[in-house]
């Protein structure tokens, strides 16, 4: 028979937890000595205090050791990562730096040419984004039409989405641009190549974004639609004034995701022979026997993307501050 044990002190106060774990962790932390030393000192202190019987102080020291170990991990990893990158770019007399950051990058003429090219990218994606916003919403609304009579419309909208999401963007670009150019349809006859490219990008990204819209609209609780309808608003009015405005606020992050994708995919139109930023990068690389043109193009894309991410966050924050309870 085992005697039942009634502790006089609560379990949490009876022992010093994980003394050995902290010792091992703090020794490993010495790889980053700035904080590792503190970790080790505290863990040694903890075991000393434990053997002296001062459990409470030992637990405090143990806790400090644990915290310093985590600091070693966090800051140590960053320092080692930076050191690794520096090494990568400096070994072999800076071979990698010379490839990516050749003198061309400080050459004003090269930047002028790149910016002229990038202006085309900007024009293409701004127009495409505006069209995508409208086109994708239309597709999403068609796909969500209620009633049996609208089944064919829903089917067509779904078929479009499925189709254009499954074909690679570059292939759609080829099919649309060369196809429409060759067919010479009455309405499309006077478009130039850049316009065809916009049409192709709108078709591809419209399919993605319509799914984002659809998810957003469906995430609005049906009681909102019921409330709107109960006031006598028609289905269309309810969508226009109640459901869609709420959905749009919710989908800003995934919408930005797709827009960034679209912006980067404007580089695909260089494959059609348009001298946008990637085309010019290739030209600079070939004419100056360098690789830095690509770096320059990459920097341009980074420069426009990061502000957009921050702007979207700011927008969402502002809306929450306005409409949500403190």
């Amino acid at each position: 028979m085992t005697a039942s044990f009634t502790p006089e002190v609560p379990v949490a106060a009876r022992r010093v937890p994980r003394v050995l774990t902290y010792r091992v962790a703090s020794i490993i932390s010495l790889l980053f000595p700035f904080t590792g030393v503190f970790a080790l000192v505290n863990s040694l202190k903890a075991s000393k205090l434990e053997s002296a019987g001062d459990l409470e102080s030992a637990r405090h020291s143990g806790e400090r050791a644990r915290e310093w170990c985590w600091y070693s991990l966090g800051y140590g990893l960053l320092v080692y990562f930076v050191a690794f990158m520096v090494m990568l770019f400096t070994i072999r007399d800076g071979a990698l730096s010379k490839v990516y950051f050749d003198d061309v990058i400080f050459n004003g003429e090269a930047w002028d040419s790149m910016l002229t090219g990038f202006w085309i990218n900007i024009k293409v994606f701004v127009i495409a984004e505006i069209l995508v916003l409208i086109w994708a919403l239309l597709i999403a609304l068609l796909r969500l039409l209620p009633g049996k009579a609208c089944a064919p419309i829903r089917f067509v909208a779904a078929a479009y989405t499925d189709l254009f999401r499954s074909i690679p963007a570059i292939l759609v670009l080829y099919l649309i641009v060369y196809g429409l150019q060759k067919a010479r349809l009455p309405l499309f006859e006077n478009l130039d190549v850049q316009d065809y490219c916009i049409v192709a990008l709108v078709l591809v990204y419209g399919a993605y974004v319509s799914e984002v819209y659809r998810a957003g609209i469906q995430s609005i609780h049906w009681s909102q639609l019921a409330a709107a309808r109960s006031l006598g608003l028609s289905y269309g009015q309810s969508m226009r004034h109640v459901v869609v405005p709420q959905a749009v606020r919710r989908i800003i992050p995934p919408l930005l995701n797709d827009f960034i994708g679209l912006q980067k995919d404007t580089a695909l139109i260089s494959a059609i022979g348009i001298l946008e930023v990637l085309g010019r990068a290739r030209f600079i690389n070939n004419s100056q026997a360098t690789f830095t043109g690509y770096t320059m193009a990459a920097l341009l894309f980074i420069a426009i993307t990061i502000p957009q991410a921050r702007a979207a966050e700011w927008l969402i924050k502002r809306d929450h501050a306005k409409t949500r309870a403190g």
Binding site: S223, Q224, A226, A227, A228, R229, S230, L231, G232, L233, S234, Q237, H241, V242, P245, Q246, R249, K322, T323, R324, A325, G326
Partner: protein, 247 residues
Amino acid sequence: MTFLQMQGVHKYFGDNHVLRGIDLDVERHQVICLIGASGCGKSTLLRCINALEPISEGVIRIDGNRVSGTGVDLNDLRADVGIVFQSFNLFPHKTVLQNITLAPIKVLKHSRGDARDRAMQLLQRVGLDDKADEYPDRLSGGQQQRVAIVRAMAMDPRVLLLDEITSALDPELVAEVLNIVRDLASDGMTIVMATHEMGFAKEVSSKVCFVHEGVIHEEGPPEQIFNDPQQERTQAFLKRIVDAGRL
């Protein structure tokens, strides 16, 4: 003539037979209280009146005119029949004032200024005119529900449906909402309400209907239903309410 009349109304949700032959007569200026256990069909009954749920069988008439079945303009019907929900259902992206004026502007084609004046008048009546430019999420539950009542009233409905409008509120907020209903009733508004507030039902209603398994099991003036119920089921239901200390 009976103002609002339901005759033999049935409602199925798939195989679920929710309303099993509802007969209900409502006269002008009456306050009808529907009582009964959760799931008995009170809410569905209300939602059928303004066609948020289409009925499966039977007829609903307002002023003698059939308003159920095909060929009825539901938007017109709903502009006449206001409803307030248990969970308020205010539009969170619009201010209090925009919530109230949306339908008068878009459905009744009132001018922005007229709609605004009328809304402010109603808000003042419920003591919320200082909240006109707030967003709903910044209001308490009781305040939100008062706004929802004003939103329904701004359409000048001929009958107001209240679907357990105090069930989602903290106890101390119930009174502020019920006071407004009492006020509307004394102004002669025709009201059909589903409620668990038995004391309130006893006080304001012209007629109490006990709904059980999709039919109106017993109806009568509140004194009769609460003090001298005739049906066994009604007695059992009220006994449970009394035992729970709610009456």
